[in-house]
Amino acid sequence: MKNKNLGFTLAEVLVSIVIGIMSIAAAFSAYNYFNKSYASVSQKAEVSKSARDALSLIARDLRNAGHIDPNFITSSWEGIRSQTEAEKRMIGVLQKYYGSNGTGGRYGQADQLEIWYTISPYERKEVTYFILKYRDGSDNFFLQRQIRIFGKNTKTFNDVIVSHVEDFQVILKDKDGNVLVPVCTFIWSRCGPTEISQGSNQQQGSMLKGQANQKLVHTADVYLTVRSPKEIYPKARRTKIKNGENSHGSDITIPADKYYRETFFVSVHTRNLAKHVAISEQTGTSIGESSSYNK
């Protein structure tokens, strides 16, 4: 009786070991589960955050596209030499902008978007969106926002706005919803003859038509596909991306991998391009020249 409390019986030890292992296993698997969902949620949040921010920036630029301040002061630089010159540079999309440095993206189908608007009576801004490949040797692509401001002093800024971009498509439509191709500015090397239609590798479009089309743009559909920076799926899966209507959009098949991909879409009314006129039936008076600007 004296030694009763000194030890445990074999059965007690065995039972405690089993219970101990079970609880440790349960705790470990719970930890594992939390860890995985943490990784996946944080990656998805990263993707949606960067894409959301980028799309609001693009949407804002598109709304402003083609705005010419009624007081704008002409300068010697040809883009703001006169109203007519300014109107030659409003919006342009280069389909399948496949060049060096990875423009065109990993799959060679991404577009380039060029937007012009005045930001003050003295300055005109050019914003260009296109994909580039990182120069650090990694196989990653990002969406670049290049800004040039023409005016008293010409300024240039370059920003990486989203990383790990897989595809960027811009489809411009007129007020009836028909796709406008080509749409291009006066910078002729970026227009008409160099435009390539998907799959055909054929040049298409005329520069003059492309310039005239600028004033018909009523809606811009923008597709942005972003990949998670890290692998999150336990098993590899195949991805197919189809952004936009056939022949002007993209059609990409990606071999099986463990990355998460999401496409973000925004459709923007380009307020300053295709102008509408509000007419009053009673008086026959109308409101004309609705050029507007979103801050």
Binding site: F28, F34, Y122, A278, I287, G288, S291, S292, K295
Partner: protein, 189 residues
């Protein structure tokens, strides 16, 4: 009982369980935090978007007012609208100095311009716009006199509109999202 107290083999299950509990609580809290941040960001973006649409509605309401009240532009001179503007301040518009030379202003919640009922009407009631119409300013922001569209005889007017994510009579600059928007128009006969 004394022997039990001296037993050096203490259990490790309790500290381990506590450690795991702490780690998982931290991870859980981080997850909740990420999700709620994302949720808030989305809500903000939505408010912004809705306020932008409200501002656009303001512009179209202002346009129809202009078409219906053409005579007022020639018969009455512009006046100071400052005291009548609730949240659409001239300072929101970098190309304008003051609202001293406005013709007309109005503010409405969206449920006053879009007919809806039930939940939809309640939701629309949470967004509003306020606009004012003035001469288009010159390059220095002065708009005391009418400027003509180059090459024509038509006077340029600018509609300044602000969208807000609150009802027209409760929106204020400090607490609400306000999206300013402007449109330059001319009256054509």
């Amino acid at each position: 009982m004394k022997t039990l107290k001296n037993n050096s083999e203490r259990g490790f299950a309790l500290p381990l369980a506590l450690l795991l509990l702490v780690v998982m609580t931290i991870m859980g809290a981080t997850l909740v935090n990420i999700t709620s941040t994302e949720h808030n960001a989305n809500t903000n973006k939505d408010s912004n978007q809705q306020a932008f649409y409200a501002a656009e509605s303001g512009i179209s309401v202002a346009k129809s007012w202009m078409v219906g009240n053409i005579s007022k532009f020639s018969s009455s001179p512009p006046n100071n609208l400052d005291s009548r503007l609730r949240f659409c301040k001239a300072s929101f518009f970098p190309n304008l100095r003051s609202s001293n030379n406005g013709f007309h202003t109005d503010r409405k919640s969206l449920n006053q311009v879009i007919s809806a009922s039930g939940d939809e009407a309640t939701r629309l009631g949470k967004y509003s716009f306020e606009y004012f119409i003035a001469y288009t300013p010159d390059q220095n922001g002065n708009n005391s006199s009418g400027k003509k569209k180059s090459g024509t005889n038509s006077i340029l007017y600018t509609i300044y509109s602000c969208g807000c994510n609150a009802a027209a009579n409760s929106c204020n600059v400090q607490n609400n999202v306000i999206v300013p928007l402007e449109a330059v128009v001319t009256l054509v006969n």
